[in-house]
C-alpha cells in the first residue's frame, strides 16, 4: 500500500513518468508547466535517468525524439507558446514512428495570452498542430489521481504504437495540490516497446510485412547492436527515403490505421449518470469536474442530467458521441475555450441532437452554476 501524499498535477505527471519507465526528460522553463522540469531535475539523476534543460523548446522536443530513437522512454512538457514551437519535432516523431510523451499544461492564448491562467484552447492544436496527414493520441485527465494514471497510460500507448501521445492538463490541474493515494507500483501495467527477435542484419525499423503494423524498436539495451537509419522523409520498410507512390501511400495510411484500427485499446471515456438522462453534458479535463458538480446539483433539483466525458480526447470518440446523438434529445457542450471539440461533436452527431454550449475563454474555470443555468434554460 502506498501512503497518501499531497501533490499537485505537475508533480504527479513527473512521478508517473518515472513509474512508467521514463528516463529522459528535456524541457525549457514556461509557466504553468515549470514544476515538471523542477521536479524531474531532482528525480531523474536519482533514478539514473537523464534530465537536460535545453536552450529552447525546439531543442527540448528534438532531444526527446533523439532519446526515443536511442531506446529511452522520453518526455517533454510545456505550455502555450512552447507547445507551438515543438510542433515540427512532434511531426518528426509521427513520421519516424518514435514513442514520445508531450505534456501540454494548457494556458490561455493565442500568443503569450494568459500564462498563469487556465484554458482548454489547445485541443485542435493537439490534433492538427503539426503539418501533414497524421494521427495523434491525446488524453485529458480530470483529477489528480487520473493525471497520474493517464500519464502511465500515455507512455504505454506511445510505446505500444510507436507514436507521440499528448497529456493535456491545464493551469488548474497543474497547480492544484491535493491528497493523492498513488497506486502500488507493482500493480501498474507498464508496456515497453517490442524488441526485435531477429539478428541485427535482418532488422528493419518499418518492416510491417514481417513484424506487423507496429514493428519492434530497439530499447536502450539493444540500441548499440541494432544499426538502422531513420529520416523525416517518407520512408520505405528499411527506413530509407522513397518517393514510390504505392510505398508512400501504404505508409501514410498505416501510420493512421495503426491507431484508428486499435481504437478499442486506445479509447477511454466515462458515462456519468447517463442511463435515464434527459440532457447530456459533454465535458473533459478539469472542466468535467465542474460539469460533474452541475449534474449532481441538477439531479438534486429534479433535472435528470448526465455527462459524457472522453478521457482519450484524440482520436475523438466518434462512435460513442454518434450513439448519444441518436439516443438523447439535448446536449450541452462545455469547454474552456470558444468551441473546439464542439466541431467534432457536431460532426459526429450529424444534426441528430439539439446542441447548446457553455464556453468560456476568460482565464478562469467554468463554474458549475454556469452549466446548471444553461440546463435550466434549455429544458
Amino acid at each position: 500500500m502506498s501512503k497518501a501524499q499531497i501533490m499537485n498535477g505537475n508533480e504527479l505527471v513527473s512521478e508517473a513518468a518515472i513509474a512508467a519507465g521514463c528516463r529522459f526528460y528535456a524541457g525549457y522553463p514556461i509557466t504553468p508547466s515549470s514544476e515538471i522540469p523542477e521536479h524531474l531535475s531532482k528525480r531523474m539523476p536519482e533514478v539514473g535517468g537523464v534530465f537536460v534543460q535545453f536552450e529552447d523548446e525546439i531543442a527540448s522536443c528534438m532531444a526527446a525524439v533523439g532519446a526515443s530513437y536511442a531506446g529511452y522512454k522520453s518526455m517533454t512538457a510545456s505550455s502555450g507558446p512552447g507547445i507551438s514551437l515543438k510542433q515540427e519535432a512532434i511531426g518528426l516523431a509521427c513520421m519516424m514512428e518514435l514513442p514520445l510523451v508531450v505534456v501540454n499544461v494548457m494556458r490561455g492564448g493565442p500568443s503569450t495570452g494568459l500564462p498563469t491562467r487556465v484554458s482548454q484552447a489547445d485541443l485542435m492544436q493537439a490534433r492538427w498542430g503539426t503539418h501533414g496527414d497524421h494521427m495523434i493520441i491525446a488524453v485529458a485527465p480530470e483529477t489528480l489521481l487520473e493525471t497520474y494514471t493517464e500519464t502511465i497510460r500515455a507512455f504505454n500507448m506511445a510505446e505500444k504504437y510507436r507514436t507521440p501521445v499528448y497529456i493535456l492538463t491545464d493551469a488548474v490541474l497543474a497547480h492544484l495540490n491535493g491528497r493523492v493515494e498513488l497506486p502500488d507500483p507493482s500493480t501498474l501495467e507498464i508496456i515497453d516497446r517490442t524488441q526485435p527477435s531477429v539478428p541485427p542484419e535482418e532488422y528493419n525499423p518499418y518492416d510491417v510485412e514481417r513484424f506487423g503494423e507496429v514493428p519492434p524498436l530497439p530499447n536502450k539495451e539493444n540500441f548499440h547492436d541494432y544499426r538502422f537509419h531513420m529520416t523525416g522523409l517518407n520512408k520505405d520498410k528499411t527506413g530509407f527515403p522513397t518517393v514510390n507512390k504505392e510505398a508512400v501511400e501504404a505508409d501514410e495510411e498505416r501510420m493512421i490505421t495503426k491507431i484508428t484500427g486499435n481504437i478499442k485499446d486506445i479509447e477511454s471515456f466515462e458515462y456519468y449518470k447517463m442511463d435515464d438522462a434527459q440532457l447530456v453534458i459533454f465535458a473533459y479535463g478539469t472542466n468535467a469536474a465542474a460539469a460533474r458538480v452541475a449534474v449532481d446539483e441538477a439531479r438534486e433539483a429534479g433535472i435528470k442530467a448526465g455527462m459524457f466525458r472522453p478521457i482519450t480526447v484524440w482520436p475523438f470518440p466518434e462512435k460513442q458521441v454518434a450513439e448519444i446523438g441518436k439516443n438523447f434529445d439535448k446536449m450541452i457542450v462545455s469547454e474552456i475555450n470558444l468551441g473546439q471539440m464542439l466541431y467534432e461533436v457536431e460532426r459526429a452527431t450529424k444534426g441528430n441532437i439539439e446542441i447548446s454550449t457553455v464556453l468560456q475563454a476568460a482565464g478562469v474555470p467554468i463554474r458549475p452554476q454556469q452549466i446548471l443555468d444553461k440546463m435550466k434554460e434549455v429544458l
Binding site: 530513437y69 522520453s74 537509419h229 522523409l233
Partner: protein, 272 residues
C-alpha cells in the same frame, strides 16, 4: 594500408546523389579515413544530420544514423550522447543548417562542451534549396536571394565555436584533404565539443553565380583564400581580409566534458 571503404559505406546506396565534383564526398572520405585510422567499430558510431545536401551523408554510412530536421541535428546528437555516453557521436551538417536555423543549438552545445564532433560542410550557400545566401556566403558574392551581391557580414565559425565554449576547433578545406582528415581524426579523439569547419566547393549553386562553375577552379579559389595559422600570424589585418585561417585553432583539454559532469551529478544525487 589503404582504407576499405566498403566497411563503412552502405554500398547498395551508391552512387552518391551529390553533383559531380561536390566537396561533400571529399569530406565524407576524410571522415571515414579518420575513423578507419582510429580503428572504431561501426556499432560504436552514431551519425546525426539535419537537412541539406551534406545532411544526406547519414544515408550512405553504415553506422547508427538519423536524418533529422533542418537545424536540429545538434540537440538530437546531444540527447543520444547523454543516453549512450560510450558511443562516438558525429554531426555532419551544412553551414546554413548549423549556423543559421541551428545556430542556437550549435552555440549551446559548444557551451556545454558535450563530446560531439561537429563537421560543418562550409560551402557558403544553401545548395539543396537552390543557392540562397547563408551566414557564410562571402559578402559581396551572389546568391539566388542576393542577386546584386550579398550585403550580410559572415560568421567566423571557428571564433563562434571558440567563443561559445567548444574545446577543439579546427579549419581546413577540400583543397587539403589529408590535413582535413587529420583534423577530423583529432576532433573525433578529443573528449569534448569539437568543431571542424570544412571549407567546401559548391560550384553549382555558389560557383555558377560567381564565375566559379568549374569545381577545379573553385577548389583553387578556396586554396587561394586559405592561409595557415603560422602564415596568418605574420600577416596584417588588411592582408587577412577575406582569408580563412586554417589549422587547429583552439584546443582545451581542461574544461569538463558534459556527460562526465552529468555522471558526477547522478553519483551525487544517488549518494545523498
Amino acid at each position: 594500408m589503404a582504407t576499405d571503404y566498403s566497411k563503412y559505406l552502405r554500398m547498395e546506396k551508391l552512387p552518391l546523389y551529390w553533383c559531380p565534383g561536390c566537396g561533400n564526398g571529399t569530406i565524407l572520405k576524410a571522415m571515414i579515413t579518420a575513423i578507419d585510422e582510429l580503428g572504431w567499430q561501426n556499432d560504436d558510431i552514431m551519425m546525426v544530420s539535419g537537412i541539406g545536401c551534406s545532411s544526406r551523408a547519414t544515408g550512405y554510412v553504415d553506422f547508427h544514423t538519423i536524418h533529422t530536421l533542418h537545424g536540429r541535428a545538434v540537440p538530437v546528437a546531444t540527447a543520444i550522447k547523454m543516453c549512450h555516453p560510450d558511443m562516438h557521436v558525429i554531426v555532419f551538417s551544412g553551414d546554413g543548417d548549423s549556423t543559421a536555423i541551428g545556430g542556437n543549438h550549435f552555440i549551446h552545445a559548444c557551451r556545454r562542451n558535450i563530446d560531439l564532433t561537429v563537421i560543418i560542410v562550409d560551402n557558403w550557400i544553401y545548395g539543396m534549396t537552390g543557392g540562397q545566401y547563408s551566414p557564410l556566403t562571402p559578402t559581396g558574392t551572389k546568391a539566388s536571394t542576393m542577386p546584386r551581391g550579398n550585403i550580410d557580414p559572415n560568421f567566423d565559425i571557428a571564433e563562434l565555436a571558440k567563443g561559445a565554449g567548444a574545446t577543439f576547433v579546427a579549419r581546413s578545406s577540400v583543397a587539403d584533404p589529408m590535413i582535413l582528415k587529420n583534423y577530423i581524426k583529432k576532433g573525433l579523439s578529443h573528449k569534448g565539443m569539437s568543431v571542424i569547419d570544412a571549407l567546401s566547393n559548391c560550384h553549382i549553386q555558389w560557383g555558377r553565380r560567381n564565375k566559379y562553375g568549374d569545381p577545379v577552379k573553385l577548389v583553387d579559389l578556396i586554396k587561394e583564400r586559405t592561409v595557415t595559422k603560422a602564415k596568418a600570424a605574420k600577416m596584417s589585418e588588411e592582408e587577412l581580409k577575406g582569408k580563412y585561417v586554417t589549422g587547429i585553432l583552439y584546443e582545451d583539454t581542461a574544461k569538463k566534458e558534459y556527460t562526465q559532469a552529468y555522471k558526477e551529478l547522478v553519483e551525487k544525487a544517488q549518494n545523498e
